[in-house]
Symmetry: none
DNA sequence: TATGAATGAGTCTTCATTCAT
DNA sequence: TATGAATGAAGACTCATTCAT
């Protein structure tokens, strides 16, 4: 996980053939799944190769190293998941039934988190020690947080400090998912928890006068 | 070749002498610092021993294994930081100048996070795969989140769903610290960000009618 | 940091290919030879790998751990040596020239012991502290001592307390080999020693009236 | 356990003071007991020091190294046990009630073996890889096996090849003890086993015409 | 291209021995 | 003398990466 800025070796093939593309995709998918499930350091490259039904050797034809699988997988996940998320958000958001659809989005997010599992956490640590992972994280967060304000605006929501508020709302949703998925707390009433979050987001984006 | 499952903890010395205590503390401090800075898997026991200016062997007189250093370090950090935090909170919180002191607390929290650095993240991942780390996390979170409502109540703050609200507020503060310390974002106005968070917490704990 | 107790035996390859089998055999042979020559605790896995002209890593593809090499080696030795021993015994034993063939068997046994060398002893100690080694020893001893009475009976030798007598005879042979191989004693006349043992076995199995 | 022929360092004290002698004895006793119980490689010097209620450091004032404790312990055991054994043998042995007293001696031997336990086995291996241990073994065996013929002769037992016969008888007794103590075998009738051994010894030392 | 066996540096951990007090 | 904390070399085992086939 040492940071090297070496250019991708020539021997890493950017697959052109259909079959090759499919294989790279298969490795990426199997890889990111394992990585997310068991964490970076508890997953071996042999595990990944096995899960993808390929040889260990071939993995290194498509990926520079283990970390490269991670980055590719994260890219894939963000494309697969973030784009539709934003589309859903775009489609459903409007002032009249804000809360209702925000609740749908919360549920959507929870599903998203279940996929990440342990990786989700480790990513933060990885990001600190590895510039590539960090770069991904920054890019990912930005792409989400930058898009959301525009969507809101395009739906007539317009409050000061939108960028900061979206950030806060986004983190709140993140935490909600996180709590639900990873640390279920029997002392917590999750229905209430969700309502309070929605109320808070409402307060942030629509102002207290609209808050119920 | 041993077939016995005898606990090795017999040989772990719980230091009684002043010098021993100091040494265990020195190892713990050096250890947790490295662990926090570089992450669990990027820190070797040799690193820790070197940082503490001791031999590798002596580390294993005071700690069962590498993980034990982590847990001890976390315990130390939480004692060093959480108790004073709660004291500060207890002392400063009151209705009249709620926002002002909450702001102090935010700043206090930021300092706290700087200490944790990357460990803070990895901990989450570790907690998923390791019962001991998980146990620590649960204990730690509980001790904080359970204490805060009582402090609030003792200061006259009394709203429904206190537990859930405190949780939300706490996470919000966490995220704030995290953003500030780990992912400084030049597009973000941190003064505004902080004010919005305080406003949100105000809304949660005092209701919208008090919100400015 | 793993907390799972998943068997690692998944990753131990039971070689199917000819080359792999040959390699496992090579490691086993090199391993058991070193183990026998220098003893379990004086032989490192690196020694074994070097002697087998392989890397340390590959050893752990074929064997679970160091002990597994020992057990495999012992199995190999016992297959290589015990089966033919019994066959020889079966074939040669008959009343008319009992002593003559018993003498052949003694010599055969001596060769067998030369292979074991120091391991032969340490095995006893290992058996006390390790259930796997103990299991092997018990199995091995039993297989020999249980078979011999049947062979004797099938050759017309039938005396009371056969099981106990065989045991005594067997141990006597063991000791003879042991003395000859490991503790040559210049005060001892080995021709006489051998004759006395044969006479004793004769006495045990055929009764004193046949003893010359 | 490497074989070095270095002269005992000057710093090894040959204790002259009464207290020192007692301390060396205490270490030797505690040491050999542990060594016998758990085996050489499963006993640490710290274990020994603890069992003797002394510091680890002081051990190295009295003993050159770990092996030295073993040798000293073995010397002590052989003095403590072999001398009285021979005395008993000397006293009891006579033609008239040969079998009866030989049985006593067998029982005496069994007790002796219980003390040794696992060490007894490991010793053989140690002897192969270490000249000092080997020297002890040779000396020990010789002292026994050389003395016994003389005792026998002095009791009127006089047969050809006495030395070899004693050897065989001695080993037989050894094996008997060993079987009884370490590998109790439920298929074996130990009363019969003992009788057969006695009969065999009788045959060896007195000739078949006396055998019952 | 593909395979998966092979490599070997790197990790945690132990323990005989030493040495500051 | 005595202590027991400290040392550090050495060993078992892992796994990202390479390479012969």
């Amino acid at each position: 996980m040492k940071s090297d800025t070496a250019l991708k070796s020539d021997s890493i093939r950017e697959p052109q053939q259909k079959r090759s593309i499919a294989k790279k995709k298969r490795i990426t998918e199997a890889g990111i799944q394992l990585l997310c499930e068991k964490g970076y350091y508890n997953t071996t490259t042999v595990d990944i190769a096995k899960a993808a039904h390929v040889s260990t050797g071939i993995v290194y034809s498509y990926f520079k190293d283990k970390k490269d699988i991670l980055i590719s997988g994260l890219d894939m996940l963000s494309e697969q998941a973030v784009a539709p998320l934003l589309a859903t958000f775009q489609e459903k958001l409007n002032l009249s039934d804000f809360l209702e659809h925000m609740e749908d989005l919360l549920d959507y997010f929870v599903d998203f988190h279940i996929k990440f599992q342990s990786m989700h956490q480790e990513l933060g640590a990885l990001a600190l020690s590895d510039p590539d992972v960090n770069a991904f994280m920054v890019k990912f967060e930005k792409s989400l947080v930058n898009t959301l304000p525009n969507i809101c605006i395009s739906h007539g929501i317009d409050v000061p400090n939108m960028y900061e508020k979206i950030h806060i709302a986004f983190d709140m949703v993140e935490n909600y998912c996180h709590e639900v998925v990873f640390y279920p707390d029997e002392a917590m009433d999750y229905v209430v928890y969700k309502q309070e979050i929605l109320s808070c987001i409402h307060y942030l984006l629509l102002g207290s006068e609209h808050a119920k």
